[in-house]
Amino acid sequence: MKVMAQMAMVMNLDKCIGCHTCSVTCKQAWTNRTGTEYVWFNNVETRPGQGYPRTYEDQEEWKGGWELNSRGRLKLKAGGRLKKLATIFSNPKLPSIQDYYEPWTYDYATLTDAPAQEHTPVARPKSLLTGKNMKIKWSSNWDDDLGGSAATAKYDPMLKKIADKVKFEFEQTFMFYLPRICEHCLNPSCAASCPSGAIYKRAEDGIVLVDQDRCRGWRMCVSGCPYKKVYFNHRTGKAEKCTFCFPRIEVGLPTVCAETCVGRLRYIGLVLYDADRVLEAASVPDEHDLYEAQRSILLDPDDPEVVRAAEAAGIPADWIDAAQRSPIHALINKFKVALPLHPEYRTMPMVWYIPPLSPVIDVVRDTGEDAEDTGNLFAAIDALRIPIEYLAELFTAGDVAPVDRVLKQLAAMRSYMRDINMGREPNPAIPAAVGMTEEEMYDMYRLLAIAKYDERYVIPAAHSEQAHSLEELGTECAVSEYGGGQQDLFGEGSGVPTPIAVENFQMLQNRQTADTLASPDDKGSRVNLLNWDGRGKPSGLFPPRPDGPGEVAEGSTPDTSHDGETGPGGTGGLTGGADFR
C-alpha cells in the first residue's frame, strides 16, 4: 500500500443555479489573456446539451482517455507512444477553434466616435484571431438554459445513447447544470499523452499541472484529455489547464470557483488513496464496476492501518487530520452520494458530483402531488427512466443502480428532514428505507444543507517551514523584483520567472499595457482598469499634459508647483506626489 494524498472536489448539482459566477471569476483570475480568450478552465454546461467544446464526450470521435486492449490492459485510446510520435507533425484528433468557438470582441469605439449620421452606429463583432469582422455562430455556452436545444441537443453524445425514448418526452424535459473543471485524475491521460513529460501530478496533493518551461506545444494532451480540459494557448504555443488554484490551496484557501460559488455547492478536501492500486482499479473489465473500483482505492482515513501507512509515506499529521475531517471522504465513501464524472474514460477523475434530484421534484410538484413525500418521490424516481438513465450515462457509465440509490437517499433526506422541520415526530423508517441510520441522515443533511465555510473547505495549508518557497507568499525573491522582474527576450512571460500567483501574473500585466485589440491605428493603448490596483500609473491611463513632454515630468521641480497649471483634476500631482525618487 502506497498512500498518497489527493485534493479533490465534490459539486452538489442540486444547488447549481447556472449563474456562471464560477466561470467568470475563474476567467478573470486565470485566462484573461491574449491566447486564452476561448479558454474556460471552469465552464458551466446546460444538460442535455453538447458541452464545450462541442460533443467532447464522444470519445469514438475524439479518442480521449484510456481503453482496454484485447489483452485487457490499459492503453491510451488515441494510440500508444509510437503512434503519438508518428503523428506528431499533425495531431489527428485536435479540436479546431470552431469546436470551441472563435473568440471575439466588439468595436465599441464606433459607438462614441462615429460621425453624425442618420442611423445609430453599431458595435460590430470583431474576431480576436484575425481582427476582422465576424459572424458569431457559437460560444462556450451557446445552448445555455436549453436555448436552441430543440435544434442542437440531438448532438449531445450522452443523449444519443438513449435517444429513442427521448423524442416524445422532450417537451416535459428535465434540465440541470453541470459545472466542470479539470478532474485532476488519479490516472491522467493528458499527462500520459504528453511527449515532453511536461504535465505532472504533484506528489503532495495530486494537482495536475503543466510545466510551462517544459511544454513544447505538441498538443497531444488536448487530444488525450477526454474532458477536453487542457487548452492550447495559441499565442504562447503552450498547453494550459486548470491549476486547482494551487497558490490559494497551498495557503489553505479554496479555489476561486469554489470561493465565489453563489450556491455554495462546492466542497473541497483531501482524500487518501492507494497509489499502487490505481492501475488495477482503472483496468476493471466491466465499465459498470469502475465507480465501485475507484471508490475502493480511496482509503478510510480513520483506519489506524491507513494512518500508519500515511505517516510512513511522509504525509504530515495535520494532513491526515484534514483527510479525516474531509467532506469529500464523507460524501464519496461515508454517505456515498457523490459520483465520478464519466468513470468509463478510466482516468479516475477526482472531481465528483452529487446528481440532481430537482428534475424529479419538479415533475412531482407539477403533477400537484406532495413533492416532499418519500412514496411520491421514490415512485417518480422509478418512473422517470430517461433523466435517470441520462444521469447514469454521465456518472456511472450507464449503470442506473447507483444513481437510483443516490437519488433515493436525497429524496429520503428531504422527507425525513421535513418532519423534523415541521415539528413532527421524525420517521425512522425513511432513513431505513435507503439503508441509513437516523443519525447518518441528519449528518448528511448538515453537510449538504448547512455546512459552513470551514466544513465545506477543509484544506490543510502547506507547511510553514516551506512557506518561503510557496508561490503565494514568495519571500524567496528579492522585494524589488516582485513586481518588475526582467522582461525582455521573446515576448510575454519570458525572463526571470516571477511568482505565478494571479495578482502579479506578468503576462496579465503585459496584456493590459500592450493591448491593441484588432490593431486600431487611430487609438492609443487601452488600459484595463479591472486589474489596476490604484498604485502606479499605467501608461495611457492619463492623457499627456498639454504643456509637458508627453508624460508627467518626473524628478524635476516639485509637483505642487505644477498643480495649479495642470487644470482640473490635478492628475499630475496624484502620481507625481508619491514619487520621491
Partner: protein, 242 residues
C-alpha cells in the same frame, strides 16, 4: 575573399548557432515551442506538415551521409561512385519533392488563412525566406547539377564535403569551397545564414524531438519543493540602492 566567405562567416554562424541555443534555453524556456497553428486550421496542415517534416527528415539524413561520410569509406566497402550517385539522387529527389510540396502548401496556408497569417511574426517571415531559399537552392543543385548536369559535372563529395569536414575539424580549407559551383556556394551561404537565425526562431523545436517519451513512465509525479520551471530559487537579498 574565400577566407571571409568560407572560414570567417561559417564560424561566426556556427558560434551564433551554439551560443544562441545555449542562451535561448537558459533564458527563454518558456518561448521554446513549436508555436503550432493547428488550432486555427487543420485541413491544409494535415497534408502539408507531415509532407514537409518527413521530407525534411530525409533531407537531413541525406546531408549527414553526403557531407560526413568520406568517399573513401564507400569506395572501401565496394560501393561504386555511380551506384552511390544513383541512390543519393533518387533519395534526395524523393525527400526534396516532399519537402518542397509540403513547404508550398504550408506557405500558401500561412498566407491565406487569416488567423495563421495574423499569428506570423517578422522573425517567422525572415526564417521562412532563408529556409525556402536554402531548400530551393538545394533542389536546384540536385536537379540541375546532378540530374541535368548543367555547367558540367561536379562531385560534391570531392569538394564541398571535404571542406565541410575540415570546417568541423577546425582546419578549414577555403579553396575547396571557392572552386565549387555557384549553386553549392549560395546553398551553403544561405544555410549558414539559417543556422545563425536558428536559435532565435521557432526552429528550436527541432531540438525538442521527444524521443524520451518512448521510455519514460506514463504518469509523471513531481514534488512541490523541486519547483522546476515555475520558480527558481533566488538570492534572498536585494542590491543596495544607496
Amino acid at each position: 575573399m574565400d577566407t571571409f566567405l568560407w572560414v570567417i562567416v561559417p564560424y561566426l554562424c556556427l558560434t551564433t548557432f551554439v551560443v544562441g541555443h545555449f542562451w535561448r534555453y537558459r533564458y527563454d524556456k518558456f518561448g521554446w515551442t513549436t508555436r503550432s497553428s493547428q488550432l486555427y486550421e487543420d485541413r491544409l496542415l494535415r497534408l502539408g506538415s507531415p509532407l514537409f517534416h518527413f521530407g525534411m527528415l530525409g533531407v537531413v539524413g541525406g546531408h549527414i551521409i553526403g557531407l560526413l561520410l568520406p568517399q573513401s569509406w564507400t569506395d572501401a566497402v565496394g560501393i561504386s561512385h555511380e551506384a552511390y550517385h544513383v541512390v543519393a539522387v533518387t533519395g534526395g529527389l524523393i525527400a526534396g519533392v516532399m519537402t518542397v510540396v509540403g513547404m508550398v502548401i504550408l506557405i500558401y496556408r500561412r498566407r491565406t488563412v487569416g488567423p495563421v497569417f495574423s499569428a506570423t511574426t517578422v522573425m517567422d517571415k525572415v526564417m521562412y525566406a532563408f529556409l525556402a531559399a536554402a531548400i530551393v537552392l538545394g533542389m536546384w543543385n540536385t536537379v540541375a547539377g546532378s540530374v541535368m548536369t548543367v555547367g558540367g559535372e561536379y562531385n560534391y563529395r570531392e569538394g564541398v564535403s571535404i571542406w565541410y569536414r575540415s570546417f568541423l575539424a577546425f582546419q578549414p580549407d577555403a579553396s575547396l569551397m571557392g572552386d565549387a559551383p555557384i549553386g553549392f556556394q549560395l546553398h551553403a551561404l544561405v544555410a549558414f545564414g539559417l543556422f545563425a537565425l536558428w536559435p532565435f526562431t521557432r526552429l528550436v523545436h527541432v531540438f525538442s524531438a521527444p524521443v524520451g517519451y518512448l521510455t519514460r513512465p506514463y504518469i509523471v509525479y513531481r514534488g512541490r519543493d523541486e519547483l522546476l520551471g515555475s520558480h527558481r530559487p533566488r538570492r534572498g537579498w536585494d542590491d543596495s540602492r544607496v
